[in-house]
Symmetry: C2
Subunit: 306 residues, 2 copies
């Protein structure tokens, strides 16, 4: 039965962290965060997700229980001696820029992902934002993925470009933000940047533009997805991973990757990202309902139809 569920579920490798953030609307200390966490809670509305990550012995039991109670698979989450990965950021007044106050890798410094045998047959894989060397290692353990999506960030583009470009060959979809796409391709034009990435492997490039939505470029299609026009925005942390969760979650549920399905998946991504930022940390996602997801999906359709 586990094997059957696994085949239909998602594998994500990324961080499970304790985040401290300051925004103009308040501050939170050591709250549950990390790319794999946001992704899993978001994708969990669409399918079963299994996390590959590590936490320290200080990781709160209530956070572990929270993830478990949401049906997230934790067989690949190891508890290592040491402290959990911690990050602190301070957002500027416009919320578009965050200054990192500290990054303590802690147990991630020596993280050596091992994929439990029963997770290796999962068909949908999300390589959240960690060292491309670790992303490649996880991917090598997966048997026959139907779709591999990958995220990255400027830090890896600068420090691990060779490894990242090598990884791109094995990836179906790259998600990254606009400044990262420009930096990776060395081209300020986003369409040309996406084509540069496509020529390195991924058939689909999703460029996230925050409040300006997302652009999805493939060999034969280009799709511009809007961001939901929010008036309440408290904490942008996790928006990108929640976006990826909605997108990969939906794709893994319908098990199709044609252009029309990918467009819908991106809208679900936009929905999940927009809810995420309405409150601090994972708080808004935790009280989100499937009805609200459908409602905002329809609102995005009205927002763009002509």
């Amino acid at each position: 039965m586990l094997s059957k569920m696994s085949n239909g579920g998602i594998l994500v490798v990324g961080s499970v962290a304790l985040d401290s953030v300051e925004t103009p609307f308040g501050a939170r200390d050591n709250a549950l965060g990390g790319s794999a966490t946001y992704f899993s809670i978001s994708a969990g509305f669409f399918n079963r997700v299994n996390i590959v990550a590590t936490v320290g012995t200080d990781f709160p039991r209530r956070s572990m229980d929270l993830l478990r109670k949401r049906g997230i698979g934790l067989d690949g989450l190891t508890v290592d001696n040491g402290k959990t990965f911690r990050w602190k950021g301070r957002y500027r007044p416009d919320l578009n820029t965050v200054d990192t106050i500290y990054t303590h890798l802690n147990v991630f410094k020596t993280f050596d992902p091992r994929i439990p045998h029963e997770l290796r047959s999962l068909r949908y894989v999300f390589l959240a934002n960690i060292d491309p060397v670790l992303q490649a290692k996880v991917l090598a353990s997966v048997r026959k993925p139907a779709l591999v999506a990958c995220d990255t960030m400027n830090y890896w583009i600068q420090s691990r470009k060779k490894e990242l470009v090598a990884l791109l060959k094995k990836v179906d979809m790259l998600l990254l933000n606009d400044s990262e796409a420009r930096e990776l391709s060395q081209d300020a034009n986003l369409i040309r940047a996406a084509r540069w990435i496509i020529s390195r492997g991924p058939g689909i490039v999703v460029i996230k533009k925050g409040e300006h939505g997302a652009l999805c470029v493939s060999r034969n299609s280009c799709f511009a997805a809007p961001a939901f026009p929010l008036t309440t925005l408290r904490d942008p942390t996790g928006a990108g991973d929640s976006f990826a969760g909605g997108m990969i979650g939906y794709l893994s549920r319908v098990k199709k990757h044609d252009d029309a399905t990918i467009r819908k998946a991106i809208i679900y991504g936009s929905v999940m990202g927009s809810y995420c930022v309405e409150d601090f940390g994972v708080n808004r996602l935790l009280r989100l309902t499937p009805n609200e997801i459908q409602k905002r999906f329809q609102e995005l359709r009205r927002l763009t139809s002509f």
Copy 2:
């Protein structure tokens, strides 16, 4: 006959200028430009446009001939003693920012717009980006407009805020870019900024976001229009006025202002703005065909449908 044509046409007050620009792709000196010029050539694809503006005795006869041959009404364009308004700008490498090298108002320093009698019954009015005091004066001369749209810029928001806010009461639609909307409303959130403006008069606010498209907010609706994803972008000058030209041109041709029509009008605006920036000055608009306009309208529909 003139009266009949006038009733169906558009009145625009704004600048007719000689622009010098430098972009990473080249430079042009003293080329035909100005807000009324871009607007008229763009809107001219949809309806007859009549310009209210002033030029100096140095304004090239070939530019005057060019406007006339495109069917643009020049009865309200006066030739005053002195030099034509001149502006020079240098775009930064990403083309998103322009540094003004000089602005020589010249004949615009003493411009006192007088609307020829036969133009006062025009029903569609575009108050392009000039002093709000002049915009209000022109508007006061128009008898019974069906739709008054207005543009502005940071300079007037800073120096003529009181006059601008007073003008808003008489305006149906305000077009401005995102930074201007934020500055005018003193609110970083674009939706709240639009609502602030709506509470001052205009039922419709169109916020132009350059490469990120446009957002149209009214009391009951919100529409996010994409920008066409260009790979060739040579000179952003005039994009906003070409956008307004496509929008007002379409509205004046179909003579409806319901939500569905306004959405289509904004897409025509996006089409015209996107063509404008493909070449220097008005060059691309001059060789544009109606077929190309329809083609890109359909491409924008494909770009956003899901």
